[in-house]
Structure formats: structure tokens, C-alpha cells
């Protein structure tokens, strides 16, 4: 029997605590679009994406209406384009980015992911062509997101790719200098990338995935924050229990929406991603949750422990609520997209080093971090290498989405607007990593036994 209190709790979560479904992402395989003629590849891609995703936005809006829960984004992920375009006759993979952009525009989604390559052990010809095309493709298109996997626990870290990515990020920033380096906000460098992540900019449709699939990303930092606030004097066991219960309820909404979308679209339901995804809106912040646990500012001593507790409790509660959990499933700490993180950085409480430490306990990575425009490609590569090493050794996904904002210095702000928010430019270590990064080759995979 539902009680009036239970009904009102749900209503309050949506209306006052920003509970929403962050994204319904349709994964589409483009493996059958390969062709020797790149124009034929483009036609096949466009036709398939627009055919399968034709009703995605309308269906999302219908579900929103019926259930009264906002679905913020409807998006598409596709097979890594490095594979789709590889057998074609063109060296300019920007062509495929343009096709993706047009197809996404036609069906009305705001982002399409999959301008991607998996190069953790080395480059094929398609991978090299894709990487080369990334800066221009991201600068020239609105909706296309790119990602590159440079490391896995089993293969080690491809340091040639890491160095390459440092240079690509610099180039992408330079090409969009008038927009504070916006292109870099659409580019993620991964270690141990998941194949079913619904969140942008890192989403692509993995090669083990079916023809077409629906994945869902939930949100809800505001709901968790409110629950934590009510447990002011609770000990850690009780606190974890409260977060678990709340995460369960939040995730159930993702499960419901995923099942409904899957049934309405006639497409199999893939996974719910349990990540707590913040937005720049007040009260929708992961940093606020950590501060609600008793830290004066996010980033002070104790932040890593607080995040570890939060992330684990969210997963335990969420895993119970969904039949299939996947994607990134870790708390997001994107600096520009989280009002509490922005405040913590601007007040000097939160540094790049602390953010890196936080990513060790299962947040997803260094996300949406603006660094001074003069930061060298080698330093950016070294930041990526550190993050990839954390992912590789700890058998987890880590990612770097970093913006060397052209012309900006420490303490300046970059403005991206919308969900991407604004970020204070953070301090980077002044000492050089150049000789290290330029060695080239691969860092071997770590030993998986003798784990102490």
C-alpha cells in the first residue's frame, strides 16, 4: 500500500531536490556501414542513425509527461568511427564527424558520441586517421563527442597515444580559442573505458554491444544531499545506510524510464549507470554532499574518505534497484559542472592533486578541469599518464577531460554555459615532465597477483 507520505516524497525529490534522469542514450551499431567508398559509408551512417533514433526524442518527452520526471538529455552513441571508417578510401575522418553531426541534428539530440578509437596497445590506420581528425572535427561540429582509450589493466598504457592526446588537446583548444577551448570539453581520454557508458562526452557503442540498445544515466546529488543533511549526528554506518536507501530510490527511476523507453522504442534495455551526475544548478552538487558529511570545504583532508563512502553506498543501493548496472557507475566530480566544486577551487580548498587523489577511490576521473592556456602538451600528457596509471593499477575506469584555456591564467574563469558550466583555472605543477613523456613506447601491464 502506497502512503501519502511516500507519494509526497517522490514529488519532493523531483520538484525540490532536482531528481531527474540525466540521459537516455541510444547505442547504435554502425558496423554494417563499412564500405570502400567513404561517401557510401556516410550515407549508410546517416540513414541508420536517423532511422533508429527517429523517435528517440519524442519517446523521451512522452515518458517525461507520463511519469512526471524530467529527462534532461536524449543522446546517441555509435560504434567507434575509427572502425567504421577504416576500410573506406578517405584519409579525412572529419567527413564522418560531419555526418554524425547532421544525423544528430536531424533527430534532435544535443550530443552524439563515438568519434572514438581504442588504442591502448597501438594504432591501426583507422585509429591514426581518427586521432588526426579530432581537433578539427570537434571545432567544426556542434554535437559530436570524441573519446580515446589509451590504457587498460591488461594491456598497460600506450604512452605514444598519451603524448599524442596531449598535443591533440592543445590543438583542439587553439582551434576554439574564441570559446575558451570548448572543443576540449567534448573530448575524453580514458583508461579501461566501458563500452556501454550513456554519459557524454565519453559515450560510444562498444563492439560487444547489440545492434541497438537503450542505456540510462540517472542523476540526483540533490536528493542524496538532502538525505545526508537530515542525518547530521549519525555515525558512518547509519550515514552509509541512508545514502544506500536514497540511491535505491533514485536508481529505480532510471530503471523505470529505461524499461519504458525500451518497450516504447522496441529496442533492448542495456544498463542503468549509477553515477551521481551533478549540474551547475544550486543544490545539485556532489561537493555539497561531501560538505554535508562534515567537511568545511570539499578538498580538505577527509574528502577522499568521504567520497569513498559516498560512492560505495550509492553503488550498493543502486545495484539493488536495477537489473543491469553498467557504464561508468562512479561519482562524477566535474569541476565546471558542480557549483560546490567551483567554489572549493576558487577558495583554494581543492587542488588538482586532491582531485587526482579523489579519482583513486572511484570517482571517474579528472573531469572538466580548466588549466592555464600556457600549459604544455607534455604536461597535459603527464596528467593523462598519471590518471591512466591509477585506472590501470586499480582495475577501474579513469578519464581525463581537461581544457588548457587559451590566454587564461590561474584564477581566471572559463565559461562554457549550459550543462558544461564555468570553471576557475586551476594551478598546475610548474616543473617539467617533458623528458618522461617523450620516451615513447608502452608502460607494461601491471602484475595482477602479489597485491599488497
Amino acid at each position: 500500500m502506497l502512503s501519502i507520505q511516500e507519494i509526497m516524497e517522490t514529488i519532493r525529490m523531483v520538484q525540490q531536490e532536482n531528481l531527474d534522469i540525466r540521459t537516455i542514450t541510444m547505442g547504435i551499431s554502425l558496423r554494417d556501414c563499412c564500405h570502400g567508398d567513404h561517401k557510401a559509408v556516410g550515407r549508410r551512417m546517416y540513414d541508420k542513425i536517423t532511422r533508429l533514433a527517429e523517435n528517440l526524442v519524442r519517446t523521451g518527452e512522452e515518458i517525461e509527461r507520463e511519469y512526471g520526471i524530467p529527462i534532461v538529455n536524449k543522446r546517441i552513441s555509435v560504434t567507434p568511427i575509427s572502425m567504421v571508417g577504416e576500410s573506406s578510401d578517405t584519409d579525412d575522418f572529419g567527413f564522418f564527424a560531419d555526418v554524425m553531426d547532421r544525423a544528430a541534428g536531424e533527430v534532435g539530440v544535443n550530443f552524439i558520441g563515438g568519434f572514438s578509437a581504442l588504442v591502448h596497445k597501438g594504432f591501426t590506420s583507422g585509429d591514426s586517421k581518427l586521432l588526426k581528425a579530432i581537433p578539427n572535427a570537434l571545432a567544426a561540429t556542434q554535437r559530436v563527442c570524441a573519446s580515446v582509450n589509451v590504457a587498460t589493466t591488461k594491456a598497460g598504457i600506450n604512452m605514444d597515444a598519451v603524448y599524442e592526446m596531449g598535443k591533440i588537446i592543445k590543438e583542439a583548444a587553439a582551434l576554439t580559442a574564441d570559446k575558451d577551448g570548448l572543443a576540449c570539453a567534448k573530448l575524453v581520454v580514458f583508461a579501461n573505458v566501458p563500452e556501454d557508458n550513456p554519459f557524454m562526452a565519453g559515450a560510444f557503442h562498444g563492439i560487444g554491444e547489440p545492434e541497438c540498445v537503450i542505456n540510462v544515466g540517472v542523476s540526483g546529488p540533490g536528493v542524496i544531499k538532502n538525505a545526508v543533511d537530515k542525518a547530521k549526528d549519525a555515525d558512518f554506518g547509519t550515514l552509509a545506510e541512508i545514502i544506500k536507501r536514497t540511491a535505491f530510490k533514485v536508481t529505480r527511476m532510471g530503471e523505470l524510464v529505461g524499461r519504458a523507453a525500451s518497450a516504447k522504442l522496441g529496442v533492448p534495455f542495456g544498463i542503468v549507470d549509477l553515477s551521481l551526475a551533478p549540474t551547475p544548478a544550486v543544490g545539485d552538487s556532489v561537493a555539497d554532499i561531501l560538505e554535508g558529511m562534515g567537511l568545511e570545504r570539499c578538498g580538505t583532508h577527509g574528502t577522499t574518505a568521504a567520497l569513498a563512502l559516498l560512492n560505495d553506498a550509492v553503488k550498493k543501493g543502486g545495484a539493488m534497484a536495477s537489473s543491469y548496472v553498467g557504464g561508468l557507475s562512479g561519482a562524477f566530480i566535474p569541476v565546471s559542472e558542480d557549483a560546490g566544486m567551483i567554489r572549493a577551487v576558487s577558495e583554494g580548498a581543492l587542488s588538482l592533486d586532491k582531485l587526482e587523489a579523489m579519482t583513486c577511490v572511484c570517482s571517474v576521473g579528472l573531469d572538466m578541469i580548466a588549466v592555464p592556456g600556457e600549459t604544455s602538451a607534455e604536461t597535459i600528457s603527464a596528467i593523462i599518464a598519471d590518471e591512466a596509471a591509477i585506472g590501470m593499477v586499480n582495475q577501474k575506469t579513469t578519464a581525463v577531460r581537461i581544457i588548457p584555456a587559451p590566454g587564461k591564467k590561474e584564477g581566471d574563469y572559463v565559461e562554457f554555459g549550459g550543462l558544461l558550466g564555468r570553471a576557475p583555472v586551476i594551478t598546475v605543477n610548474k616543473f617539467s615532465s617533458t623528458e618522461f613523456v617523450r620516451r615513447g613506447g608502452r608502460i607494461p601491464a601491471p602484475i595482477q597477483s602479489l597485491r599488497n
Binding site: I4, E6, M8, T10, R65, G68, L256
Partner: protein, 102 residues
């Protein structure tokens, strides 16, 4: 209010929860139920209470025979709510079942 397993019984997926929030006044139930009656929506249950000084009414309704589509019903109730100075929401019952029941 209701025991309900989604998808298991007749009429499943045809029940909605209407929540009315605002300041108490004369004619709330009459106003809302008039809109429902006009469109052949059957009221299965009503409960009301005062939560934190806010008048709160929850109705569970069957929309199987509803003459208008869900979106239009929602708009009509919203308009009625604005007329009465209330906030009226219509949501599929599954939302609440899914969140609070396994």
C-alpha cells in the same frame, strides 16, 4: 492505497496518481473531480492531509475509459489548478510503485 504489481493485472498501466498541493479552500475536490467526470476518469481513491502547512490531496484514478489523451488531461488539470491557485500534477502510478516497492 493500492496493491499493484505493474503489468500483472487488468487495467495495469492505466492508473494515475493526481496530486494537488496548495492552500486549502472551498471547492478543491469539486473542481478537480468535475474535470475528471467530464472526461470519464474514474476516481478509485482519495486521501488528503496537511503536510507542513500545505494542503495535500492525492487521488488514484483509472484512465482506461478516458476520452482524451494523457497529455490533454494533464493540461486540463493544470489549468484547473491555476484557476484554483493550486499545483496539480498527474503522474503514472508506476513511478511511485517503482520507487517505493520492490
Amino acid at each position: 492505497m493500492f496493491e499493484h504489481r505493474p503489468g500483472r493485472e487488468e487495467g495495469a498501466g492505466k492508473r494515475v496518481v493526481i496530486t494537488v498541493l496548495g492552500k486549502d479552500r472551498v471547492g478543491i475536490i469539486a473542481g478537480v473531480s468535475a474535470v475528471l467526470a467530464e472526461n470519464d476518469v474514474n476516481i478509485l481513491d482519495i486521501s488528503q492531509t496537511i503536510l507542513q502547512d500545505i494542503f495535500t490531496m492525492v487521488m488514484v484514478c483509472d484512465i482506461r475509459n478516458c476520452k482524451i489523451d494523457f497529455g490533454t488531461l494533464k493540461e486540463k488539470l493544470k489549468a484547473k489548478g491555476e484557476e484554483l491557485g493550486l499545483q496539480i500534477q498527474v503522474q503514472h502510478e508506476d513511478v511511485f510503485q517503482f520507487m517505493h516497492r520492490i
